[in-house]
C-alpha cells in the first residue's frame, strides 16, 4: 500500500513538472496568437478610419471581428463612446484595457503601450491617427518576431525541461 502511495505521489510530481513545462510553452503560443490578433485589430481600425467611419463605428467593427478579451476591449470602447458620459477618450480607452487586462494574454509592458494609444486616438488628423496606429502595429510586429524567436529557442526547452525534470524528480525520490 505504501509503495503504491509513493508511486502515485511520484507520478503526480512527474506529471506536474511535465505539465508546467508544457504550460510555459503553450503560453508562448497563446501570446503569439494574441499579438497576431492585436495586429489584425489595429489593421481593421486603421482601415475603418481611412474610410471616415467614426471611431465608435470603427471600434464596434473591430469588436465584431476580433474574438476574446481583445475584441471586448473595442466593443466596450464603442459602447462607452456612444454613452457620452463626459470622459475623455484617453480615460475610456485606458479604463477599458485595464478592465479586460486579465482576459488579454499580454504582459504589463504591452498593456501600457496599448493604453498609450488612447492619447493619440482623439486626434483631428486622420493621417496622423493612422501613423500612430501604424507605429503601434510596428511595435506589435517587433514583439511578435522577438517572441517567435524566443519560442523557437525556449519553447522546446520548456517542454523538455518539464518532462525531463519530472523524470529526474521521480528517479531521485524513488
Amino acid at each position: 500500500m505504501q509503495f503504491y502511495c509513493k508511486m502515485m505521489g511520484l507520478c503526480f510530481l512527474g506529471l506536474t513538472s511535465a505539465m508546467a513545462g508544457l504550460w510555459m510553452s503553450r503560453r508562448m503560443d497563446v501570446r503569439l496568437k494574441e499579438y497576431k490578433e492585436l495586429k489584425r485589430a489595429l489593421y481593421i481600425l486603421a482601415s475603418e478610419i481611412r474610410y471616415s467611419a467614426s471611431l465608435s463605428d470603427a471600434a464596434e467593427m473591430v469588436g465584431k471581428r476580433i474574438a476574446g478579451g481583445l475584441g471586448r476591449v473595442f466593443t466596450d470602447l464603442s459602447e462607452d463612446m456612444d454613452r457620452k458620459e463626459g470622459k475623455s477618450l484617453d480615460e475610456l480607452w485606458s479604463e477599458g484595457v485595464r478592465k479586460r487586462q486579465r482576459e488579454l494574454n499580454l504582459d504589463e509592458e504591452d498593456c501600457m503601450m496599448l493604453c498609450s494609444l488612447g492619447k493619440h486616438l482623439a486626434g483631428q488628423d486622420a493621417e496622423l491617427l493612422q501613423n500612430q496606429i501604424a507605429l503601434l502595429e510596428q511595435y506589435v510586429q517587433d514583439k511578435q518576431e522577438r517572441l517567435a524567436e524566443e519560442k523557437r529557442t525556449k519553447g522546446r526547452m520548456y517542454k523538455s525541461l518539464g518532462i525531463l525534470g519530472g523524470i529526474l524528480i521521480m528517479v531521485v525520490l524513488l
Binding site: I49, S56, M81, K84, G123, Q124, D125, L129
Partner: protein
C-alpha cells in the same frame, strides 16, 4: 428626447449641467451657445444674448458666467464629434460641423492653409453652437401663394440672416412632399435644411424627399435631375455665378425650383451680381420677402414674377 435636450449631451460636464438646468427653467427656446476659450460662456434665448451661469441661469453680469477653459472646449469637441474629429475633416474646412439632431457648430481657431486652399482648423478657440429649430406648419400662410393651377411655382425666398428662411424652406419642402405628394430633391450643401447625420435627415422633410447632403449646389441640382426624377428641387442660399447655369437647366427641364437668397428686399435680389439673368428671364414666378421685424419669419411681401414689373400680391 426634445431636440434642444440632445445638445446638453455633447457638452463637457460643467456646461452640460448648466445647459440642462437652463433648458428646464427657461421659457424661451435655446437658440445658440457660444463658447470662447478664457471667456465666459454665452447663451442666446428669446432674442437675448446673456452669460450662462453654473446654476443654469442667464445673467447680464460676465463675472457670473462659466469661464470656458481650453480643456473644456477640447472635451466638448471630443463629445461633439463622438471622439472622431478626424471624420469631420471635410466639414472643418468649411468652418462648421453638423451634429446629430441637425445642430450646427461653427468653429474658429488657427486656420491651416495650403496656398489659398484651407486644409483644416487647429487649436480651436471658439464654438458657436446653433440649435436646430424646426417649426412644423410655419409655411402654412405661404403655401397657398406658391401653389397654382399647374402645380408649384418656381419660388424664391429673400431674407436677411437669422430671419427664418431655412426654417420656412424646410417646412415648404415638407408640405410639398407630404401635402402635395410631389417628389422633392434637396441639395443641402451645408446640412442646414435636413440636418443629416450620417446621411439620415434629422429634421422632418417629408416622405417623398431625397437629400444630397454636403454636395455643392450647382453639381447637386444636376445630379438630382439626372438620377432621382424630382418634381421639385430645393436649395438654400443661392448666389454664386456658377449656380445660375444649373438653375437655368433645372427650370428648362420642367422641374420646379425652391430657392432662398440673402437680402432685405426684391431690389437686393435684382441688383445681385449674376442674378440679372434670372431676373430678365423671369425665372421665379413667386418671390417672397421675409424679415425679422415682428420676430423671425415675418412675411413682408409676395411678388408675382410673371406679371409686369413684379406685381405685389401681398
Amino acid at each position: 428626447m426634445q431636440k434642444q435636450d440632445t445638445i446638453s449631451r455633447i457638452l463637457c460636464p460643467p456646461l452640460r449641467e448648466a445647459v440642462g438646468r437652463m433648458i428646464n427653467h427657461t421659457v424661451y427656446p435655446l437658440e445658440e451657445i457660444r463658447l470662447r476659450v478664457n471667456r465666459p460662456a454665452m447663451a442666446y434665448a428669446g432674442r437675448k444674448k446673456m452669460f450662462l451661469t453654473s446654476q443654469g441661469r442667464l445673467s447680464d453680469s460676465e463675472d457670473e458666467g462659466i469661464q470656458v477653459t481650453s480643456a473644456m472646449l477640447e472635451k466638448t469637441l471630443e463629445l461633439m464629434s463622438n471622439y472622431s474629429l478626424y471624420a469631420y475633416e471635410q466639414e472643418l474646412k468649411n468652418g462648421y460641423i453638423t451634429l446629430e439632431g441637425g445642430h450646427r457648430v461653427g468653429l474658429c481657431g488657427k486656420v491651416v492653409a495650403d496656398g489659398d486652399r484651407i486644409k483644416t482648423i487647429r487649436f480651436i478657440s471658439s464654438l458657436n453652437i446653433r440649435i436646430a429649430h424646426e417649426i412644423i406648419g410655419c409655411a402654412d400662410e405661404i403655401m397657398p401663394w406658391i401653389r397654382g393651377a399647374q402645380g408649384i411655382y418656381h419660388t424664391l425666398l429673400i431674407s436677411p440672416p437669422r430671419c427664418g428662411k431655412t426654417t420656412l424652406l424646410r417646412d415648404l419642402i415638407r408640405q410639398i412632399s407630404d401635402g402635395e405628394k410631389m417628389q422633392v430633391g434637396v441639395v443641402d450643401e451645408r446640412s442646414e435644411i435636413a440636418g443629416c447625420y450620417r446621411g439620415i435627415p434629422q429634421n422632418t422633410v417629408g416622405l417623398r424627399t431625397d437629400i444630397l447632403d454636403g454636395c455643392p449646389k450647382q453639381e447637386g441640382m444636376l445630379m438630382l435631375l439626372r438620377s432621382m426624377g424630382p418634381q421639385v428641387i430645393a436649395v438654400d442660399e443661392i448666389g454664386r455665378i456658377e449656380e445660375i447655369q444649373a438653375i437655368t437647366t433645372i427650370v428648362n427641364s420642367g422641374v420646379k425650383l425652391l430657392c432662398t437668397i440673402h437680402g432685405n428686399s426684391l431690389d437686393d435680389f435684382l441688383n445681385k451680381p449674376g442674378m440679372d439673368e434670372l431676373a430678365a428671364n423671369r425665372v421665379f414666378q413667386r418671390i417672397i420677402v421675409l424679415s425679422g421685424r415682428k420676430g423671425p419669419g415675418t412675411l413682408e411681401q409676395i411678388y408675382d414674377g410673371e406679371k409686369g414689373d413684379y406685381a405685389v400680391l401681398l
